[in-house]
């Protein structure tokens, strides 16, 4: 399955998070829910990795029906800004989608709502500038 050819992609906001050995406020981030998360690897956090994870993130409260995907599952994330694509594997639970229901991010005429996925800095920076913080993406499984 490639970057943009799955039958049922999800569209939403992506952000980035640090994990593993890090500096600054990230220093206590740890290895994430899967235990192997590292800022220098192409990994992601997904809001529905387990029942416990889902109970925290509750994307359904924002109208998002996200499938249960567990540690190691691979997503293909395509920027709606530059068109770049990166493949990432699940290493953590997040983001807390329901804290920002209805939030919308645009890049020109391409817009997406709700925080659906967080990427590690190495993965995020492969398709967007870290200084953007939020960016609209297509997510294929």
């Amino acid at each position: 399955m490639g970057c943009s050819n799955s039958g049922a992609p999800a569209y939403g906001e992506m952000s980035w998070f640090c994990c593993g050995a890090s500096w600054g406020p990230c220093g206590s981030a740890g290895g994430g829910a899967c235990g192997n998360c590292n800022s220098g690897s192409h990994q992601c956090a997904w809001p529905n990795t387990s029942t416990g994870c889902f109970d925290i993130t509750r994307p359904d409260q924002c109208g998002e029906n996200l499938s249960r995907r567990t540690c190691g599952h691979v997503f293909y994330v395509t920027s709606q800004c530059g068109g770049g694509c990166v493949s990432v594997s699940i290493a953590d639970c997040g983001p807390d989608t329901n804290r920002f229901c209805g939030e919308r991010t645009c890049c020109g005429s391409a817009c997406a709502s709700n925080r659906l996925i967080d990427l590690t800095p190495s993965a995020y920076s492969a398709i967007a500038s870290l200084s953007t913080g939020l960016s609209p993406v297509r997510i294929d499984s």
Binding site: C3, S15, W16, F17, C18, G20, A21, S22, W23, G24, P25, C26, G27, S28, A29, N36, N38, S39, G40, S41, H42, Q43, G72, V74, F75, S79, C81, G82, G83, G84, C85, V86, S87, V88, S89, A91, P95, D96, R99, F100, C101, G102, E103, R104, T105, C106, C111, P121, S122, A123, S125, A126, I127, A128, S129, L130, S131, T132, G133, L134
Partner: protein
């Protein structure tokens, strides 16, 4: 990721010893150009060889020596084509020893990284606001207190999908926010670039 032309330019600029000596015909790298490549060919979960992170231990000419958080040592070349971010888009001379760094670029044959972009001290905090006083946001992030300094002329707020504005009056104690900012090394303080808040 750089375009093929840019990748060749960065390689030749560093290998040719012209890392910061002259302006590039390609000009400074705008983010929309830098991240417009169609696909990243790297196994998911794998370490990215074209990425580096850590603390800067020395600066020698255009070379940043970086001690990775995982104890790896990195050499990062900054060229005139490298975009530099430190609270805002800025220039090489703002980078200091002790700063934290994320860098993306092209791995050279000698193992050094020719940087397309470096983000200095950048943090992305999911936090809740515990207090607001003159020029400061008091934040709770991962169970720890972080002080966010409002920087006049720089700090902006985004309320849902509104354009970024300097008016922070919509921020509320108890609300969750995302903060993009620049860490003040070896403190629990950051300078705030953008705060994203729900409505």
């Amino acid at each position: 990721m750089p375009s093929p032309d840019r990748r060749r330019f960065l390689s030749s600029a560093v290998l040719g010893g012209t890392a910061v000596a002259g302006a590039t015909a390609l000009g400074s790298l705008a983010p929309e150009t830098a991240f417009a490549a169609p696909k990243i060919d790297l196994d998911p979960g794998a370490r990215d060889p074209n990425f580096a992170e850590g603390r800067i231990t020395a600066i020698s000419g255009s070379l940043l020596k970086v001690s990775g958080s995982d104890k790896a040592l990195h050499r990062v070349y900054v060229t005139h084509g490298t975009s530099v971010w430190k609270l805002r888009p800025t220039t090489f001379d703002e980078i200091k020893v002790g700063d934290g760094l994320y860098a993306r670029g092209v791995k050279m044959p000698d193992g050094a990284l020719a940087a397309d972009a470096v983000w200095v001290n950048i943090v992305n905090l999911d936090a809740s606001i515990t207090a607001i006083d003159s020029g400061r946001l008091h934040l709770q992030h991962n169970g720890k207190k972080v002080v966010g300094h409002v920087v006049s002329g720089t700090t902006a707020a985004v309320y849902n999908h509104t354009p970024a504005i300097s008016d922070l009056s919509g921020l509320q104690v108890g609300k969750h926010v995302k903060v993009i900012g620049a860490w003040r090394p070896d403190t629990n303080e950051v300078d705030v670039a953008t705060v994203y808040a729900g409505i």
